[in-house]
Amino acid sequence: MKLRILFAATTALFVASPGLAQEQPAAPQPTAPAGESQELPTIDVTDESAQDLTIIIPPMPTQQVVSTPAGSTDALGRQIAQIVTDNLRNSGLFKPLGPTGVRAIPVSEVSAPDFGYWRGATAQALVHGFVRANGDGNLTVGCYLYDVALGTELAREGFIVSPADWRRAAHKCSDTIYTRLTGEGPYFDSRVIYVSETGPKNRRIKRLAIMDQDGANHRFLTNGQSIVLTPRFSPDERRIAYMSYQDDKPSLYVYDLNARTQRLLVTNVSLAFAPRFSPDGRWILFTMSVAGNADVYRIAAGGGTPQRLTTAPGIDTGGSYSPDGSKIVFESDRSGSQQLYVMNADGSNQQRISFGGGRYATPAWSPRGDLIAFTRMGGGFRIGVMNPSGGGEKLLTDAWGDEGPSWSPNGRVLLFSRGAQGPSGKSDIWSVDLTGSTSRRIPTQLDGSDPSWGPLRP
């Protein structure tokens, strides 16, 4: 996959996002207007040169050091710069430097960078920002991106957050930089729901847990007395559909993150699993087994009568909607082994799309619609992608037990479970990008499995 990083000198992009208050920061000093029509260099970032784009991120200064519930504003400025650095590094596309070892800047330079100095530091891009404690108790975080060679501003945004949400400002700033430099959608300001695991392999304790995409703000949602499996975020991020063995009846529940309540979704069934929300949040696809025959059904997200979508006598499961809601990809062993199929949302026109060797499972349709991620089994379990008609297959990982891909909000990165071979029963959450070249373990308090990447936060 080729990613073009464009240094085009369009005027700074201001995207208002509801929920997280946003403002164009009042610059301490006026800035020179960015040129509109200059011919600028274009940088192609490929797998091989992915680390080539150097971005310098000094600590973000504060005009006045103020103590806040999240710490002092000068400490926050350094921490936010660190989070931006970590996010950009973890994307695998940049070589970020800072905030440690980088010259601290005064507030006056935030909107008027000393380009001459930074050219000497061989930076191609430069991130500046500031932290300000507002009179109402909130924080304003300014975020600026500059093209060092040209001395132009590429992006400028400001975010107003409560002190408790200070990390979100760092993620929004990271998203501003990432989207401006890559043309890809944002994804850093998002959360992950997953199954936290501990204990011996034959008695794993499994709890629902939620965290930011970088592992921060971790908390448990269930107490581990019942096995929970395969949680999925609703598109509005307010609900989680998951499977639980509560009362020894393995069925599906919907957890409301605001109300902190869970509700049984499917009643009077011996086995219901594999929940997936529809893109509009109104439906939940799931698998129900009746007398040993598992089929894909859909049910209103608020409950109701399940509607059967597949009728094959094999195991049909793992349904996942296309982003426009018109189609569903699912797995079936009707041919004799697990393979991927695409059908219309009403269950009509079921067509097999996977024909490579081995078995294919856990399909997940990209939020961009262009790819379907899956687990491929044959030897080990590996994560791969193919296009919705079955072509262009590419395996992204090569391990013993990778399973269950979940897409980032921008469709560029996948989270998945990596199970360990042998008696430990250990499992961790990993990420891999679409190039397959950037893979890393996501830090979790305990072991982890079944990650579900939530939507970009509002």
Partner: protein
């Protein structure tokens, strides 16, 4: 300088996420230690367990567990022998009920294995029903690959983990 400002305050979002729920009466599913324990000295003559109990069942059937081939759920000759002995006992104690637990080895994906374990439990249930045990006495539950009894990642362990276990519940 243009200003874009949406005046939504984010403080409310800070409390949107919740902590643990601890009120619900949740129970742990039976671990593999329970149902598969051979029990104290299961003598072939029936042991000393009270007739009709779960312990008595284990002492008087060939086995409480049947095994399956990889990704299969058919009842082979060995499994038939075991289920026949279970059916005999169940016909003798018609007031007992059983739960059939279906399991899979780790070489399948989590969700598929839930369905596979369910298939195995139902295959055993159907066999017992064909031998005269009322299906109303039998419930099934699938644990997929969540509760292995053998911990290795090798053929011998996987063979043990592909199983359906009969548990008498009174």
């Amino acid at each position: 300088m243009a200003k874009v400002k949406t005046a939504l305050i984010v403080a409310t979002m800070a409390v949107a996420v919740v902590g643990c729920q601890k009120k619900r009466p949740e129970t742990l599913p039976p671990g593999p230690g329970g149902p598969v324990d051979p029990g104290p000295a299961p003598g072939p003559g029936g042991g000393g367990a009270q007739p009709g109990t779960a312990e008595h069942f284990k002492q008087n059937v060939v086995s409480d567990t049947i095994n399956f081939d990889f990704d299969q759920y058919d009842i082979d000759a060995r499994a038939r022998q075991i289920l026949d002995s279970q059916a005999q006992w169940l016909m003798q104690y018609p007031n007992t009920r059983i739960s059939l637990e279906g399991h899979a080895d780790e070489r399948g994906t989590r969700e598929y294995n839930l369905a596979l374990g369910d298939r195995r439990a139902n295959a055993a249930k159907n066999y017992l029903a064909a031998r005269g045990v009322s299906p109303a006495r039998i419930t099934t539950i699938s644990y997929g690959k969540e509760r292995p009894i053998a911990l290795g990642s090798d053929e011998a362990s996987w063979a043990q983990n592909r199983r359906a276990v009969t548990i008498v519940i009174n």
